[in-house]
């Protein structure tokens, strides 16, 4: 294997590792936390106007329940509502914990953590969580997000022994099982792997059937489009990841920068469609991708011209794709 290839592999693995770590760290800065995702379909898309109460039951799979986090939509504005958070064991008459939270600190499509004193023996118990809006108005209210996961609980894992003990391994296994058990949690981590996937796919297929290589881009992009029907949340810097994946595709296949222009017709048509639908926010999103593709075209053209790179023209690309 060429040294340059190894370097690229290392860079892409580092990229994946760093961004996944940032994602996990943002989700929970403490490594000793186990996250449990809960089905909260009845809560999703519920708007919280004055007096509105929403509640959800869940079974705790682990001990030491300390945080309930719910993902909210703020409509990109600062909302001056106050939420009352309540939690109790379903079998108890009294609330275990009640607190008020100002919604001006909530961020769009992000989890808001409701913390409370740790419940040590929470494993197997059924809990009821309730949220009530005190002053949510039409202009200043929030909504429970549609993105998955909507409701998660966080449990502290207490290591009883030092590192490299059986307890540590048990914890690690639990942690891995905890992570892979949820597609919604796993999705962002896989997402950051897309540039690496693109590179691996290309290198694997180049030896078999060269023309198939042109289709390698479909796999990562298929992965990107599934977020919408599955209501998954796209992670931070996802645009950057897509740009890198696309750039790897362009450079490895030595295609003309014009392919970007062809691709830019897709967001352009999307914008037109969204304008007909009078959906300007989606049209704005399309404009972002139009901008990205045009920008890549310019950078790509500059690289090609500066290094006198030989590229495959647009007709050959399409001939290869159609054969």
């Amino acid at each position: 294997m060429k040294i340059s290839k190894i370097i690229v592999y290392i860079i892409l693995i580092i990229y994946w590792g760093v961004f996944s770590y940032i994602y996990l760290h943002k989700l929970d800065p403490s490594p000793s936390i186990l996250i449990q995702e809960h089905d909260a379909s009845s809560l999703r898309n519920r708007e919280l106007l004055t007096g509105e109460k929403i509640s959800q039951e869940f079974i705790s799979e682990y001990d030491n329940l300390g945080i309930i986090a719910i993902r909210f939509q703020t409509f990109g504005r600062i909302n001056n509502d106050t939420l009352v958070f309540r939690l109790k064991d379903k079998n108890n008459a009294n609330w275990y914990y009640t607190a008020n939270y100002k919604t001006d600190q909530f961020q769009d499509h992000q989890f808001f953590p409701f913390g409370f004193p740790i419940i040590k023996n929470s494993k197997g118990n059924v809990y009821l969580v309730e949220i009530e809006s005190k002053s949510g108005s039409e202009e200043g209210h929030i909504k429970v997000d549609r993105l998955l996961p909507t409701l998660i609980s966080k449990h502290k894992y207490v290591l009883r022994q030092t590192f490299f003990s059986s307890d540590t391994f048990k914890y690690l296994l639990l942690k891995i099982q905890n992570m892979v058990s949820s597609m919604a949690l796993l999705f962002p981590i896989i997402f950051y792997m897309l540039p690496l996937v693109q590179y691996v796919l290309h290198n694997l297929l180049i030896f078999s059937r060269k023309k198939v290589v042109f289709y390698t881009i479909l796999l990562p992009f298929l992965f990107i489009v599934i977020y919408q029907p599955f209501s998954l949340s796209l992670p931070s810097f996802w645009e950057f990841t897509v740009i890198i994946t696309w750039s790897i595709y362009l450079l490895l296949n030595k295609v003309t920068p014009k392919l970007n222009l062809v691709a830019s017709m897709i967001p352009l048509i999307y914008i037109v469609f969204q304008l007909i639908e009078k959906n300007t926010s989606n049209a704005e999103m399309g404009s972002f991708w139009l901008f990205v593709l045009l920008l890549i075209t310019m950078i790509h053209s500059m690289i090609v011209s500066l290094f006198k790179l030989k590229t495959i023209d647009i007709k050959t690309v399409f001939n290869n794709l159609s054969k």
């Binding site: 352009l268 404009s287 901008f291």
Partner: protein, 727 residues
């Protein structure tokens, strides 16, 4: 023969007719184009004031006691105004003539530029017309922002000369670029805009085989351009950097949001936007909305199917130019951290470059289409994309505008402000040697009765206050200095009592208040009519909303320079002190907390030991910013007050020219004071008070103006010589 005739009609008459009917004809009606924070002088006398302002960097534009003008980057136009005013042309004509020339320049220079790229006349005409009829031109004509339009005229010429420069490497083109750069700098953002265009032209002309020569040319051109701008603007740049005020160094992050209000990525690809004004977008008919994306779609499509290498470079150039404003928009928060970025951070104005990119792309696209039916179809699509120009969306020139308020939000349509000022300008002659303040004022005004300029219209910049030969106004914004803000707040506080207002303004040397009772402004002073009747004299002039209806004479207003030995020491607000001391002479030492925090010199913690007897003073004005003073009967320490806004640049020198190191303190929370501590036994003294930055400015200005004129002469010589050679 037929083709030739058709070409001549298309080349010459069609653009002329379009320019005449769409731009010139409506503007031939009387009145000044107004809108937003931009305007021009109206009468010949006002034009003279505008022309004369070139010589001074201390002006009463902001408040009657004056402030330093932080920038004078449009001084070539002051010089041009001097020429026009000397031959008796009015300010209104000056505005319209320069606007018409700018419009012709926008068309003609863009035609030359696109022709240089495509070598196709028809395509160049279509490209140039698309530039002339771009949404940005529409919105900036609405606002009367002539200097942005001037940049739009100069930028294609700049691009054309840049290409010539990179292909030939001749130094004369670098001088040409320097001249355009200097001229365009009247719009301060062009300090960044021109280099961006220059950089992209460089990339489009880059040839790897001649890279060393081209890189050398690139830097040589850049050095010449920056040297030209710095040399021709040195007087105000040096003084502003040496005596930097808040407005010059502020990087108000507030601008990031408010200037992006009408901007979006989607709009940038349509060339839509422009600061707050979205008149074009408002009047764009919904059924034609998709045509707004036609130009960008056409350019991308033609770039895909193009198979010529040269053209590909130019398509790339076009797209690089298009991407400028989206990039600035996306990076606006980061840009806000750059020092002095307050000059450039308005992402929406970067659409001037995007518009050039779109029109260049249209020219390129049309140059490669040979099928006439297709050409005609595409031209019709283009016409749909600029529909507002052909509807009645741009102008609202009728005095009885029945359509006012039919649009959602503010109505930005262009209006012509007719100010019947000539008739009573002469009547104000008797006040010409006094300090007079127009009220209401505050930068922008609205009328109470003229429907065209009421609340739903974008505010009118106060032309009278800015250019009047007899009176001043007040200009306040979020970038005003703490002293100006404090003065304005005190004035607002005094507002309900005209007696208090008169007293306050009298302390600062104002002799008369000129009231315009049919106007409203952002400085609201709602004095009761009863009190006005008793305190002011009616002029009986009511022929315009801008008429001066009452003149309130302020008796015993304080002189320009005076002496005090019995000041009041307080940190209370000036207006509160004034209320208590209404009948006494006020000389206040001390500042409220707001001024202290801003590093103003507020005086001592305990009172000065001053002379018991007030010395006599005789003042001889040497210029507007220089006074000779003779002081006699000195018997100890005293405070010398200069009724001009406090500024470190005001200095006291002795008769031999040596600067005197007296304590320079703030008096009356606004003006200059010096605690003069004479040597024992001295009973008389002579001093000169001068505004030192003005001395620097006046010394350097002739050299800078000469450099500018020499560059202009050289460029004219070059153009004439080139034309002769071509013949």
């Amino acid at each position: 023969m037929k083709t030739n005739l058709f070409s001549i009609i298309l080349l010459f008459f069609l653009p002329i007719l379009l320019i005449f009917f769409i731009f010139v004809l409506p503007l031939l009606q009387p009145g000044l184009i107004v809108g937003g924070d931009w305007t021009s002088p109206y009468t010949n006398k006002q034009l003279q004031v505008y022309a004369d302002s070139v010589s001074s960097i201390w002006s009463n534009r902001e408040i009657p006691t004056g402030t330093q003008t932080s920038h004078k980057n449009s001084y070539p136009f002051n010089l041009l105004a001097a020429l026009f005013s000397d031959i008796g042309i009015s300010g209104e004509s000056f505005q319209k003539i320069t606007l018409f020339l700018t419009i012709i320049g926008i068309y003609y220079f863009s035609y030359l530029f696109i022709f240089r790229l495509t070598k196709r006349k028809t395509a160049s005409i279509v490209g140039a017309l698309s530039y002339l009829f771009s949404p940005l031109i529409f919105n900036y004509i609405n606002m009367g922002w002539n200097f942005v339009l001037l940049f739009m005229a100069l930028s294609p010429l700049f691009a054309l000369i840049s290409i010539n420069f990179f292909t030939s490497g001749k130094f004369k083109y670098a001088i040409f670029l320097g001249f355009i750069y200097t001229l365009g700098f009247a719009q301060s953002q062009s300090i960044v805009w021109f280099p961006i265009i220059y950089l992209f032209i460089f990339f489009s002309q880059f040839n790897k085989l001649e890279y060393a020569k081209q890189i050398k040319s690139f830097f040589m051109g850049l050095i010449v351009m920056f040297s030209a701008v710095i040399a021709t603007n040195a007087p105000w740049i040096i003084t502003s950097l040496k005596y930097m005020d808040l407005s010059f160094k502020s990087t108000s992050s507030f601008d990031v949001d408010r200037f992006s209000a009408v901007f979006s990525l989607l709009n940038s690809f349509r060339g839509w936007g422009s600061l707050y004004n979205q008149q074009y977008e408002i009047v764009f008919p919904s059924p034609l909305l998709l045509f707004s994306l036609f130009p960008i779609g056409l350019i991308i499509y033609r770039a895909i199917v193009n198979d010529k290498n040269d053209f590909q470079r130019y398509y790339n150039l076009s797209m690089c130019l298009i991407l400028v404003s989206p990039i600035i928009y996306l990076l606006r928060t980061e840009i806000a951290y750059i020092p002095f970025s307050t000059i450039i951070r308005d992402g929406s104005r970067f659409l001037v470059i995007t518009s050039l990119g779109l029109s260049t792309g249209i020219g390129l696209a049309f140059s490669q289409i040979k099928n006439k039916t297709l050409l005609c179809t595409l031209i019709i699509c283009l016409l749909f994309s600029v529909y507002p120009f052909f509807s009645d969306g741009i102008y609202s020139t009728s005095k009885s505008d029945k359509n006012n308020g039919i649009f959602i939000g503010k109505d930005f349509r262009l209006r012509l402000l007719d100010l019947p000022m000539e008739s009573y300008e002469d009547g104000l002659d008797i006040y010409s040697n006094q300090i007079n303040l127009l009220l209401p004022t505050g930068g922008s005004t609205k009328t109470k009765t003229d429907t065209r300029f009421m609340g739903d219209f974008w505010e009118v910049y106060d032309t009278q206050a800015l250019f009047s030969p007899y009176s001043t106004g007040i200009y306040t914004s979020d970038k005003s200095s703490p002293l100006v803000k404090n003065f304005v707040n005190n004035l607002i506080d005094s507002g309900k009592d005209i007696v208090l207002t008169k007293k306050m303004l009298g302390v600062y040397g104002v002799n008369n208040i000129f009231l315009r009772s049919k106007l409203e402004s952002n400085i609201q002073i709602s004095t009761s009519q009863k009190k006005i009747k008793s305190e002011c004299i009616s002029t009986m002039i009511q022929d315009s909303d801008w008429s001066i209806t009452e003149i309130c004479q302020i008796k015993d207003s304080y002189p320009q320079i005076y002496i005090s030995v019995s000041p009041i020491y307080s940190t209370d607000s000036f207006i509160n002190i004034l209320k208590k001391q209404l009948d006494n002479l006020i000389v206040l030492v001390g500042c409220p907390k707001d001024l202290e925090q801003n590093g103003q010199i507020c005086g001592p913690n305990k009172p000065y030991t001053l002379s018991k007897k007030e010395p006599s003073i005789k003042i001889t004005p040497l210029s507007a910013t220089k006074y000779k003073i003779n002081i006699t009967d000195i018997s100890g320490k005293f405070i010398l007050i200069l009724n001009e806004t406090f500024h470190q640049g005001w200095k006291i020198i002795d008769i031999d020219g040596k600067e005197q190191k007296f304590d320079h303190i703030l008096i009356n929370q606004l003006v200059n004071g010096w605690v003069i501590n004479p040597n024992p036994g001295v009973t008389s003294a002579q001093y000169i008070i001068e505004f030192y930055p003005q001395e620097i400015y006046s010394t350097i200005f002739p050299f800078s103006a000469t450099i500018f004129l020499l560059m202009a002469l050289y460029v004219i010589y070059m153009v004439i010589r080139k034309n002769k050679i071509q013949k």
